[in-house]
Symmetry: C2
């Protein structure tokens, strides 16, 4: 399998043939647009500038100056990244891609870059959608992308405590394949799972697939090793502690600005054996939200509690229903979960929900999701994994197709949803004349949901990045004004900075900048991410 240099995942998995025709048919039914295909340029035609820096002999063997490497590491995987790749618009390309094999080599690379003032961009799977891996590091003599992909081993498994010591460069599938023989799983499945790494998840506080309890990778961390220009920070493996502010919580979400995460002890779980699931239809969206809130506050802690609004249900689950569909699932490695599902369904019925016929499942076994009436859930799930590929092919056809997400407290959700939807529609009307906005909950907390929005609009080839940027700015303003977070699990990077800067408390920013200056005195680590470049 060959990784795409310009878009998501593997070239072989791109949307084509019948899937493409079906997708374009759905788009045509929804909106006008030319839908002409634009092919990615050859890397040779990009005319990348010569690297500005040369690694010292001792590190040269770790560094690649190949155009294909440099091009593939220039952007993340946001819509605006993919489109710019398609247009051959690569303004910030790393001078070198370094691939350390161990912690010593990470240290040596940081030492060299610190000495020379060269920007270092730590890089996991490169699936950032916020400009987190794009070396926009003006004023530096060069930029080196530090690709952690060679440090991908599971070093130790502690079956008793159910934990593993894992190198940061491991990709999701490889990690799970190493844990499976032990009956264990990290159970962290972001949409990027195949093409993102443990280190990337930790650095960006990634969100997994599960809706409650362990929503972010943060909660699964026992300890971390982080190489900083001022030394290695190694925290102690602990199940819990109250000894000062948590060291790990400073590095979680630091997005490569404080150090390079090289390994972590991660909490694992037994692989689930009991499952029960259902999908519940609602005629009224407010009632669906109220039911979802009741479940989120019930202490039932479903594995999945994904409320799709009417547009999302139609577009991605093929269900036409006025108030949306709530996809519910419970899982356990230890005990039956049908009581929990039955109670969650009862809460839905209290709010006018109509569950699929076999919703309550059978005691003692896997049930629900595999069977007929819960088909919407499965349809949605396979669609979920294809979404980035579909987004790419739509990008080639000048369709604007992108997502953004937030979280807010329940009391603010209705107003936030209205403000964001109106801002998106207004902005789409301004730049494209039309478009669709959808909403689903990816995670739910007792005190609020994490809504995830999708935007689909017919763009004008050559302008789709600017068009999307206009829409994104409008919805970001609406989120900010409505009390949401600029990101629930997509990180800040460089692109969320204007809103993040207003969201985070000013004294905290001063504390974070001071911490960075202590750990990275030359300011070489991912300049411009989270904080102004020094």
């Amino acid at each position: 399998m060959a990784r795409s240099w310009w878009g998501w995942g593997n070239d072989e998995d791109a949307v084509r043939g019948a899937e493409l025709n079906e997708l374009l048919g759905r788009v045509r039914a929804l909106m006008p647009g030319e839908l002409t295909d634009h092919r990615p340029p050859d890397i040779a035609s990009l005319g990348l500038p010569e690297p500005r820096v040369t690694a010292p002999a001792s590190l040269a063997g770790l560094c690649s100056a190949e155009p294909a490497d440099r091009a593939a590491h220039a952007h993340g995987k946001a819509y605006r990244d993919v489109v710019r790749n398609l247009q051959g618009d690569l303004r910030h390309v790393p001078d070198l891609v370094a691939r350390p094999r161990d912690e010593r080599e990470v240290t040596d690379l940081l030492d060299w870059c610190t000495r020379e003032g060269i920007a270092v961009v730590p890089y996991g799977g490169g699936s950032s959608v916020v400009g987190g891996v794009e070396p926009r590091c003006d004023g530096r003599p060069g930029a080196v992308t530090l690709d952690m992909g060679r440090m991908d081993r599971v070093l130790e498994i502690d079956r008793t405590s159910r934990a593993a010591r894992v190198q940061a460069g491991v990709f999701g599938p490889h990690l799970e394949s190493r844990l499976r023989p032990h009956g264990l799983t990290l159970r962290h499945f972001p949409q990027s799972f195949e093409f993102s790494t443990l280190g990337g998840w930790l650095a960006t506080r990634a969100g997994g697939h599960y809706a409650t309890l362990y929503t972010h990778i943060d909660d699964l961390v026992e300890s971390m090793r982080v190489v900083t220009p001022s030394g290695v920070s190694a925290s102690r493996r602990l199940p819990g502690s109250g000894a000062g502010p948590s060291p790990d919580r400073l590095f979680l979400g630091s997005e490569g600005t404080l150090g390079v995460i090289t390994e972590a002890w991660m909490r694992l779980q037994e692989r689930p054996r009991r499952r029960a699931g259902a999908s519940v239809r609602f005629a009224d969206y407010a009632a669906a939200v109220a039911a979802t809130r009741a479940i989120a506050q019930s202490g039932l802690n479903p594995a999945n509690c994904r409320l799709l609004d009417a547009a999302e249900s139609l577009l991605n689950a093929g269900v036409s229903v006025g108030g949306g569909v709530l996809v519910l699932a419970f899982e356990s490695a230890d005990h039956p979960v049908h009581h929990s599902l039955a109670r969650a369904v009862e809460l839905c019925r209290d709010h006018g929900g109509e569950p699929s016929a076999d919703a309550t499942g059978e005691p003692g076994g896997t049930s629900g999701t595999e069977s007929g009436a819960a088909r919407a859930a499965e349809t949605w799930r396979s669609s979920f994994l294809r979404m980035p590929y579909q987004r790419d092919v739509l990008a080639r056809h000048a369709v604007i197709a992108e997502t953004f997400e937030t979280a807010c407290t329940w009391d603010k959700f209705e107003a936030l949803h209205r403000a964001v939807t109106e801002a998106a529609r207004q902005a789409m009307s301004e730049v494209t004349g039309t478009g669709v906005i959808t909403c689903r909950f990816t995670h739910v907390y007792p005190d609020g949901p994490a809504p995830y929005f999708g935007v689909y609009a017919p763009g004008r080839w050559g302008s789709t990045v600017a068009q999307w940027d206009h829409i994104k700015a409008a919805v970001s303003e609406a989120i900010e004004a409505s009390g949401g977070t600029i990101t629930h699990h997509h990180a800040v990077g460089r692109d969320h900075r204007p809103w993040y800067d207003r969201q985070r408390p000013e004294p905290f920013a001063a504390a974070l900048a001071a911490a960075k200056a202590a750990l990275d005195p030359a300011g070489v680590l991912n300049p411009g991410v989270l904080l102004p470049a020094p």
Copy 2:
């Protein structure tokens, strides 16, 4: 009710009469010792030095120089604090006790102290057991204790999101009394509940009564306001976020060194209506630990999962059993919990546990704990609340009676337990010739327990602080060497510093010191806590 100036809680609740005789009888049965009572000195006899500083006129009305105030704020509530009070040994007394009524006054007090270089000790309920509120601030022209007790209001309740905005100075019972009419509870019940405050819990990452899921106050925080000498840090109310390192997590556990927490939005819960509980006896401690681990890893998430070892069972639950007693409880505001209890009991039986006869309770109602066979649980619980009072009266009788706690991964527990027990016995043998050490789990995580140890030994009046310090140093060394944390939920303060300094990663300490310098440039906030005094 009058608060004791020298010991725990209210003077009226002190151990006396039959309770005292029964307690001393139990101690006599266990160990030799004179057991002569030593009464606390009169405050007038302490000869406190005159205050070294005078508040400016605008703040004078908030400040007390009363000897009773200053004496009551000189120490926390550790055994060594109580004994030093009993001996009239108050070497570090605040010059003034300031009681701000609002955030403006907190700011003004910090401004004044920053200008003058006067140390500020933020103070909630004063229940620190680690020297966290003792103004050991040599080299400063004075020390002001900032008692937050006047800022004790519940400012707002959001019933929809189940959250409340609460001032930091509120004590546990007052907070719960304000939430009860709304059917809500913070459900955070540390042993100090009656005599500690929300702000204190947040500043020290306090642990509550519940064994799993929401163990520390950290998880219950939506947002915080913190007054620092460099401005007010106000985070946004969010149910979850991935926008950079969490601002709240920097201030949680900062123990008054980065700022003064003035208020927080806290996540609440419905008051539980369904309960089921049981106690399970084990002949073998290793089997009891294995059963507890199985439950901790089951995803059942009991509210209580408290394994008392044989000595703890005997001393505090009146049960004689070789391997200990596991006290189990499940609670819910939403759904029956007897299935969960039944499964947990089954896991115990798999490991040779013998549950109390009615352990599984009845579907649909409160059961178990109230009834006969689970009486050990209730006996233990009332004993739990009396423990600090008993400790104080034992301190008066020259008995060494103190606790300490840690957490470690399951794979390390057996060795840690052995090392700590042996270190305690050896140290007790050196300083007192004899003594008893007990162990219980206060909290359990999928990857490890939080063991809580009790030490009881016959001291020599006039030397009990030195004797305890010797024991504490020995067990702390054993914890550190065995891979535990120096504290799971009692904070670092000044007394845990030698071990904390070895535990926390050096680059993290540098980052924390830099953050402190940015927020508190004059270094006036609780100098010597967490970090070396600047």
